[in-house]
Amino acid sequence: MEYGLLAAALMAVACLWLALRFEAGRSNPSDQTARLWDAALIAAIAGLGIGRIGTMVSGGVNPLSHPLDVFIVRGGVDTVVASAGALAVFALIARRDLPGMADAVAPAALAGLAGWHAGCFTRGACLGTPSDLPWAIAGPSGIGRHPVEVYAAVALALAWLALTVIRRRRSYPGIAASLAIAVAAGVRLATQSMRPAIGDGPVWWYALGVAAGLAAAATAWVLGRRRA
């Protein structure tokens, strides 16, 4: 059992839950919290599974021949496939009121992601590329390295705060969810160059996520203004 991964996942889930509880009765109706919680959790778990299968397929491991390997999450989860899968599953669950539910869960989803990144201390994944900065953390050989996951956690936590404020002020349907997508992709894009990786990673997909999120937010704003 990967206790480190499990602890990070619990941190993510706890942050998601706390953020939803915080919003209950403020930006979100109190009676919606359980529904949002269920939808977010199911989408996250489904996304994890879909992303894991994506990694297996791209690595040449047939998931039908080795179905139990899907549970070896440490072996890799394709972030882009997982995100697309989670969004698709969420859209399916919330199909009757997609903009409303997506907006309601968006800030909490960023808080959950912040919790996952902050959990790098338990899953042993904080260290990035070498750095001389005072807050660099030494790796096994003594070389100082960027605590890249901490950067991501801080950026996502700040984005959660900002989105919470935006939702409490006048906001049109779809804007919060679109901005959350842009922020999540943007944080990955901004930190990618500091992450140790084989190759450059899916930077173009992250850039596409930022562009799509911003375009969707602008469209939601224009449509909202017209309707108002």
Partner: protein, 157 residues
């Protein structure tokens, strides 16, 4: 229909990369051989302990293949197959296209026991000259592997 299409796509992705006949028998090794190999290497070494019966080893095999492709000119990638059969080992290498990695056969598991590893898979990262920089027990993820390689590439002998 979408599910059927996805299943067909997944089923169609064959994981067999190279013909089994092209994989030779793995040379046997001992802890003494490995110490000599480590001490004599002027390049850093990633030594991965694996077995064909080990599910987690399957999960990290594509990563090791990609890492060897990316850093094979700077780092020596060595696989030590433990408590296994030659047939199983060759099938595993063929299935995941790991022929570029230098493999050795250790039927008793003496090498990881001697190096201080626990269980399978386990991966050791050595600086040039054989100094152990770090060890990872369990499945490798991309970041751990990339970080481990970066550490040994930057390490002095």
């Amino acid at each position: 229909m979408l599910v059927a299409a996805a299943l067909a796509l997944i089923a169609g992705c064959s994981s067999s990369t190279i013909p089994l006949d092209s994989v030779p028998e793995l040379p046997a090794t001992t802890p003494a051989d490995v110490h000599l190999l480590l001490a004599g290497s002027d390049r850093p070494i990633v030594l991965n302990v694996w077995a064909s019966w080990c599910g987690p080893c399957r999960s990290e095999a594509p990563l090791l293949r990609s890492a060897e492709t990316a850093w094979g000119d700077q780092v020596r990638f060595i696989g030590v197959d433990v408590r296994d059969s030659q047939d199983g080992a060759r099938r595993f290498i063929a299935e995941y296209g790991l022929e570029e990695i230098e493999h050795y056969f250790d039927p008793t598991g003496a090498v990881p026991d001697d190096l201080g590893g626990f269980g399978v898979p386990v991966t050791f990262f050595f600086a040039p000259g054989g100094r152990l920089v770090s060890m990872h027990s369990g499945v490798l993820d991309e970041r751990t592997l990339a970080l481990g390689v970066d550490e040994i590439v930057r390490s002095a002998p």
